[in-house]
């Protein structure tokens, strides 16, 4: 598993997001999107290509299909023992069906993600109900994920994958969205996720103080608990500004049985110009505390039952600034197209680790273990996509 194994796991959960936001009055318009994305940061370059299409079969029944390819190359901070570059490809397919009956929308979807050393399958269902004069929408969802985790003991160009474990994940979600005034809509979401099985990233190692080693430390295997339960609550509000613009505020609180507590704050501003342009700016700040069994440097081998040095479990914060521009090249449609748009979205994220140190050897004098500089890096994320509605 490359360190974007976590990408695969996250992507499958993120695929649920494709299922999330239907309001139960009419099914959304038919639409097709072609999508390109580029992430570069922390030594990694990831290019993504995707195509999505949705269509109503009848007024009450719609289907959607999505295909996504991620290509990764690079060597990230945590590839310690292997100096070789990572090169891998992940393919994800998903299919969704939606059924609308009166004020209820039922959705079911299936997503499958495959890469050389990681396979993930998710099935999910959700129900969305409009009530109280269509001012309130209640959504409930459930998803079930099965992951098969492997480890590539060969190289990028000559792989040798050993399958080492399985992980199961179940997510339970509920959300309420409420129209408060003609200008203001608010919502709250709750999601509880439980995982069991092999939950660690096999490519990451811990380190512990070892005077017998010239570096001053030795590497060891991570040992993770075989269960994990997390709870996240998000509150959000969107307000229409009188000159035709929208401002969104989002706050999410996250806590889990591994001791990680995360707070996310986001503010978005959307500004359209007539029927042609939509400009959007966003700012996001995220801060988390480390997992209870995480340490950058353990005092000796086998010092605890559970040990981790995965940077995702470190104490960290990150700040994102992003901008998005949508241009309608077919604002009023043409023949059977109702509308056509092209969108550019760019974000810059600064990651700061508060207890994860940069121990990659750049040929500088050795630091005493535990005094290496704390790791931080910038990432650029770029997306461009063309959407047609019909």
């Amino acid at each position: 598993m490359t360190n974007r194994h976590i990408f695969a796991r996250a992507a499958v959960i993120a695929a649920l997001l494709l299922v999330r936001s239907t309001s139960a009055d009419v099914l959304p318009d038919d639409r097709a999107d072609v999508f390109y994305s580029k992430y570069s940061g922390g030594g990694m370059d990831i290019t993504g290509y995707s195509a999505t299409a949705r269509a109503k079969i009848t007024e009450n029944f719609a289907v959607e299909a999505n295909y996504f390819i991620d290509k990764v190359s690079g060597a990230s901070i945590d590839v310690l023992s292997q100096a070789s570059q990572i090169k891998d490809e992940r393919k994800q397919k998903s299919g969704t069906i939606e059924y609308l009956h009166d004020k209820t929308t039922y959705t079911a979807s299936y997503t499958s993600s495959v890469e050389r050393d990681y396979i993930s399958d998710t099935a999910s269902i959700s129900l969305s109900q409009d009530m109280f004069g269509d001012l309130t929408t209640v959504t409930l969802g459930f998803s079930d994920t099965h992951n098969t985790v492997g480890e590539n003991n060969g190289t990028a160009n000559d792989p040798n994958v050993a399958w080492i474990g399985h992980a199961l994940s179940r997510a339970y979600s509920g959300g309420v969205s409420q129209i408060v005034t003609k200008n203001f809509i608010a919502g709250v979401n709750l999601q509880v996720i439980t995982d069991a099985g092999y939950l660690a990233n096999p490519y990451r190692s811990i380190r512990y103080l070892d005077p017998t080693n010239p570096k001053g430390y030795s590497l060891g295997n991570q040992v993770y608990p075989d269960t994990h339960t997390s709870t996240a609550v998000q509150v959000q509000g969107k307000y229409y500004l009188p000159y035709r613009a929208a401002v969104t505020a989002i706050y999410r609180y996250y806590t889990d049985t591994w001791g990680v507590v995360g707070n996310t704050y986001e503010l978005d501003y959307t500004h359209p110009i007539k029927n042609r342009w939509i400009f959007e700016g966003r700012v996001r700040y995220y801060k988390q505390s480390a997992a209870s069994f995480y340490s950058d440097l353990f005092p000796f081998a086998d010092s605890q039952n559970f040990v981790a040095r995965d940077q995702n479990l470190a104490a960290l914060d990150n700040t994102t600034v992003g901008a998005k521009v949508t241009y309608a090249f077919l604002p009023d449609g043409w023949k059977f197209f109702k509308r056509g748009t092209v969108t550019f979205d760019a974000s810059r994220i600064r990651f700061n680790y508060l207890d994860f140190r940069n121990i990659k050897d750049y040929g500088v004098p050795q630091y005493t273990p535990g005094t290496e500089p704390l790791y931080s890096f910038n990432a650029n994320v770029f997306q461009v996509f063309v959407s047609v509605y019909f």
Partner: protein, 168 residues
Amino acid sequence: MLSTRVLLKRCAMAAIVVASTAFAAGGDASGPAPSFTLTTLAGQPSGLSAYKGQVVMVNFWATWCGPCQQEMPLLDQMYKKYKPAGFTLIGVNVDKEAPPVKQLLERKPVSFPVLLDPANQVSKAYHVDEMPSSVIIDRKGQIRYIHRGYKPGDENDYQDRIRQLIRE
């Protein structure tokens, strides 16, 4: 603490109850149709009283309402078909501003009269609780039928009601 399985079962049952709460698309209604005077796009005053003695369908619509746009061409066809028999369709538009309405009707014109209700007074008087809504009024000025929402195929329902009232 109840077992998860019991809770899940109860949750599913409750969800089914909630989901099956039917919401009738249309229903018979009664009472005199409130009279009103609004302006056309051209600025001319017009109202229900202009169509006394005819079967009238008052259709409440907006430029931002998808199903409203869907049914407009069908309403237009229906209007042309039954007009000779003493039927009129009035499109009451509820947009807050006139320019988008003008733009839409320039691109997709209709032949039935369109009146503007930006202050939503007529919508309130007719207790509009769904978009779109169509209120069918008989020759005597009594409300006979209210149809809420629009799904393809509803135009058959409209036509049945209109034919029935024309024959009275």
